[in-house]
Assembly symmetry: D3
Homo-oligomer: 224 residues x 6
């Protein structure tokens, strides 16, 4: 089964070259074996700085987001060029373009954001659906889904397997922004309608992504 | 204040040439006076027939939707060519493209769908936000928001003014597919974050769209 | 020898899913074996409905045709996505683009119309010439070339082998629109100048296309 | 009434700078007054040299023509850049592109060839039809339509007004390649179906083009 | 006379929103009056961080530069969107594209880098030449050309007017990287061959750019 | 080691079909064995005739060069189509595009010029750097680097091995335009920073290019 890997923009950022190098190694192996359909990278700190500057210059939310999207593409391109030859070297800008490139070259595509008002997790889910990948691996700053915010509650329990419906409940109970990064409503509804399973892994250790792609091992597994 | 007009795909369809002609007249007047930023057209029956064929051929939801999107663009192009010279003649395919064309030519853009898993109402709201239009006029097959489904309940009451939060409640209570067409969660969240008001009008009478764009008159007005 | 297959828009239409499924099976086999250079699909009923609507809205012939072309591309895309991975998934829009894609990816291209005032048969012949295919297989609603209209004359005789010059004579004698669909003057002149043979087969049975591509068996064979 | 002007590739060629300068002056005046929809330039000697080289290298007719088309675009670009700011500076490559640019920028477009197997006269007629120009001015190496080849028959008579049907007869009687350049079958059928009149003028005197565009004065006028 | 304005990437950066706001005000005024042909923005700190990360990941110089170019485009887009409607909203990627957009829309274009191994000063000079601007205004971190490095030599003298030939001499004598930013050999040779004058101003005060564009006032003026 | 081959525009020109045929044979062999990354063709006589016409029409240097670039692309396309299937069939227009195509299709790209004010030798060097080719083979009208102009001085000595620094000295001493064609400052600085060796061979004998690509044999070898 092929996977889409979505890596937090806090992880793929020029300050963390060693971590990127680790991802290049892991993802190159997976790409060579035909296990990847797409890699999606978030905007991270860079996106936030451009969004913030745009806001202070009086630009509306949509144009702010367009700059955030371009920022995420810069991170995606850094990763793509480092993997050159194994993935299509230019971040794709839409589902249509991903379909065109993936089905004609057979190479995994790389992406940042697609559209204002949309998370890169939703982009990753859209690509999983369009490219026929049954699995989305989320490499995030947390290692799993918890029933409460683990940084605040000592008795927070990791949920190893849960449904998208259960995930919605968990997300509604917690309002911490860190959780948002997991999956938003758009991503969940795509995942549900097409039966894509989502695996949450601790993104600061690239090896965990490999375990998730190869053997389905993850901190949490979300299914329909 | 400039508006984005979103017309149901049940209305802009080659079987209803007189209705399209009515829209061409109304929208041309509005475009000439600089009152329009974008016109969005749904896929209607055509989209459903291609989505259905794709599904029966075993294609996944994403590829089904891509065909539905192309169908909606065909309707959008029919309208665009009939208004030629007053709007950009090719349906735009993304927010980026709309920004590029609108801010360089000053002409309203025309669009069908943008992305799998996304309604054309969400496309219209995204364009309103990106192009700085404060108002979205929804020309639909119903004439307003009701507290219950008016086709089933004789005591259904039209709600003239409501908030997006109230709209969410109404939509959650009713599960009829007809209501879906109004606004989905993506559209609502964009409308709320950028303070865009939505006017619902009866789409089979193009003159109502003119009243909504010019004077804010509508069956229902939804605000933040 | 590689072939270009041109299928009537009356055949590849969302109402005939089983027939499309039959074509997907046959054409996928042929594509896998490297026997196809391009597949061209006509606009059929859909194109006619948009052309008619455009005409009634007062658009000129050229813009009417542009809508007919977009309609044929919708049919072509339905077929392409159903064959995904075996053909380039987006209908090509010009000979240049076909050359670029075919010679770089090695995958057959799919097309609808190219230009106002031009039949999809001419498009198919142009692609055969550009991509070096020696054979054009026409899957039509008639099974062969006849000396008279077989639906009107009981003594109409099928012509098994004929030259393009002879075909011109036959077409000039008959004025039935059904015959037009075979080959127009543009298609004939391209076929003649590049020595491409045309095979006419009954398009409602996809297996006949396979016989034509593999073994040159057809209702009629037209040569220089 | 707006016109499309088609100039022979024998005339717009880098060896004839003074003649190009004359055209720049005349066409700039006409463009400023909104009298032009498009300018089409043939490939001339340059196209022939590349077509010939391609043929001798063993390329097929289609690829030969693609090189001829690129040659004609080089001539078209030379003219376009010399008129810069008054026409769109890059030659258009298809009817779709011409529609998009002309209806959004309002500027006349410039073109060379479009497609293998198609004359630049047919391109000019397609553009006249698509852009709503009622008149095609052909600036050629002959000054009019004659009943016989005037270079061979001393009694050849100029035909001042004729129908497209009559033109077909005249062209069928003469087999001289020089006449071909006037209008081929594709161009004639477009002209007939959309009621575009064609004016033939002596292309070595740019002023004649101005007379044709402004006042309909020409060596021959061809109508439906 | 129209100008191209090139602003150092150290100045247009999301950390300096007030400075960007100052530029938006000044450049908008100049654009409205038709005094600008293009605005070019350097990559600054952002470019350096991506180039450095790419280098440490083992990418070659060319791919490093491609990431630096994308970084400069992000800064250019921030500025372009903040001026929206007055400039073309997407950074151009080549001279061809700039010619196409500028001569068809009449709006100034915005750019970051174009090509590996090329400074944004060279990009600015190329745009001045292509768009017919006679003046290049360099808004840099130094306020003028000096005979020695003013940060090191107390007796360094500002040179108010100098030729490109003299500039070359000055640059050859000093090897400080800060001077490089002024003009490199590519930029100088374009400036010389097309007689474009370069005005150096202190970029941290946007008002100085206005003085340079309007009245030719600058710290140094470089001419042929 | 893969090479970029740059052939003078005096050699790849439609008048020299036999020479082109020789190059098609040699380059096809090399491409099949994966020894080529890119082929760059100069503009030659054709470019000069369009540049000259543009200059006489009053166009500036930049627009003159754009026509020269289009001319070089025509020569590049002639060669590319003749090698069809072994190289990407459309000349690339920028480093970005070359990276995108080469790393996704694995086929060598073909190019003419990229940018005004830039030699095709610099284009070739930029492609060598971007595509990771360690060697640039220059097929020119001279067979090597000489210490003086060999056509004027009988005692001119061929320099078999030299550094880029030494080459600069030699080029500065001679002012003959013929030498310019070898490498200009842009090309030299790219070659130096990325350690690309340049091999100069006599371009009128395609076999010499094969010797250079395969075995490093050349009239002169220039290294860092």
């Amino acid at each position: 089964m092929r996977s889409v890997v979505k890596i937090s923009g806090k992880i793929i950022t020029p300050e963390r070259v060693n971590l990127i190098a680790g991802y290049v190694e892991v993802l190159s192996r997976l790409a060579r074996e035909g296990l990847l359909a797409a890699i999606v990278v978030g905007g991270g700190r860079l996106a936030r700085s451009y969004i913030d500057a745009a806001r202070r210059l009086g630009l509306g939310k949509s144009l702010q987001d367009l700059l955030g999207i371009d920022s995420s593409r810069l991170n995606a391109k850094l990763l793509a060029l480092a993997m050159s030859g194994l993935v299509y070297p230019e971040p794709v800008k839409s589902v249509d373009e991903a379909v065109r490139i993936y089905y004609s070259t057979g190479k995994p595509v790389v992406a940042g954001g697609f559209q204002p008002g949309q998370s890169t997790a939703a982009v990753a889910m859209l690509l999983a659906e369009a490219l026929g990948a049954g699995r989305l691996v989320l490499a995030t700053t947390v290692d799993a889904v918890y029933d409460k915010d683990p940084s605040r509650y000592r008795d927070a329990k990791r949920i190893q397997r849960l449904s998208y419906t259960k995930l919605r409940e968990v997300l509604e109970q917690s309002l911490e922004p860190g959780h948002y990064e997991l999956l938003d409503e758009q991503a969940i509804s795509i995942g549900m309608r097409s039966g894509i399973e989502t695996l949450v892994v601790y993104g600061y250790e690239p090896k965990r992504v490999e375990d998730a792609v190869r053997r389905g091992i993850a901190g949490s597994v979300i299914t329909v």
